[in-house]
């Protein structure tokens, strides 16, 4: 029998070894005490890591994009700004809302200023006509 490389034990635990070699190693384990101890240590670590893997697994609350209506590959000009908009709404809602609020404020202030300027312009015209 070919001498056993310890890496083969690791592969055997993962089911990544061919069945013939696996049989050979299993029979060697019954004869070699130190090899069996190493195998048992690796098996116990394997089960500990599998336990941890199952403990941390959870069903995430995410969305699979089923149909982004404007994918960049289809609409190279429109797609990129729309993708940025989509990602910013998704991942930076606070920043997106702040920008939206600032733009709204800017619009409202400019509308008020415009009305005030128009009113004062009318007053000037009336005053000019009176004079």
């Amino acid at each position: 029998m070919k001498p056993i490389d310890p890496i083969e034990i690791s592969r055997m635990i993962d089911g990544e070894l061919n069945p013939e070699r696996e049989k050979e190693i299993h029979s060697a384990l019954t004869e070699d005490e130190s090899l069996r101890r190493e195998y048992e240590n690796l098996i116990s670590l394997d089960s500990a890591l599998k336990f941890y893997g199952n403990e941390i697994m959870f069903q995430p609350n995410i969305q699979i994009p089923q149909s982004l209506p404007l994918r960049p590959v289809h609409f190279p000009l429109l797609g990129i700004p729309l993708l940025i908009l989509h990602l910013s709404i998704k991942f930076l809602p606070a920043l997106f809302s702040s920008v939206l609020v600032i733009l709204l404020l800017f619009f409202v202030i400019s509308w008020i200023l415009r009305s005030l300027l128009r009113a004062s312009d009318q007053e000037c015209r009336i005053l000019g006509a009176t004079l």
Partner: protein
């Protein structure tokens, strides 16, 4: 997991391929980021990136390996953006009530988490992909862009290191 040999991934195929990987993706992202919220963010980002770049996917490789390579990059980006501390979030809802009640389970979990933090990053990475993402050797090699032989030797070394650390801790 393979998809058809030529052409891009259709939307139906994409959903069908991604859905069964979400739980493992979440566990893998959590093992790197140690926060359920961050893990969800990284996973969402990775799924969007994969969808947008689905035409770049080469069908000769495993879809799972491709998705987890994107997820790994998303996690690394997120990790770079925040403080380099990898501690367990005790208030994290991912610690189930059952686990909280079961002291032995929680202790075991903490012990493994602590040991994972002690081993070198290249060893931890292999263990995370093997156990939490549940990838095969071939898929790990594709995800990391290393030969399969390196995966085998690195995985064995990682296991020895973990066993040594856990052994010392138990003593």
């Amino acid at each position: 997991m393979r998809i058809r040999d030529s052409g891009k991934v259709s939307e139906d195929e994409f959903t069908r391929l991604v859905e069964p990987l979400l739980g493992r993706g979440a566990a893998y992202a959590y093992s790197i980021l140690r926060s359920r919220e961050d893990a969800e963010d990284a996973l969402q980002e990775a799924v969007i990136k994969a969808y947008v770049n689905s035409e770049q996917y080469l069908p000769c490789y495993s879809f799972k390996a491709w998705l987890f390579a994107i997820l790994r990059n998303s996690c690394m980006d997120l990790l770079r953006k925040r403080k380099p501390i990898r501690t367990m979030d005790v208030n994290d809802p991912s610690l189930s009530l059952a686990a909280k009640d079961n002291h032995a389970n929680l202790e075991r979990k903490n012990q493994i988490e602590w040991a994972l933090g002690k081993i070198p990053p290249e060893h931890r990475e292999i263990l995370e992909l093997k156990y939490f993402a549940e990838l095969s050797y071939k898929e790990i090699a594709e995800t990391l862009g290393i030969p399969e032989g390196t995966v085998m030797s690195r995985l064995y070394a990682a296991r020895l290191k973990m066993a040594e650390i856990l052994g010392k801790e138990i003593k």
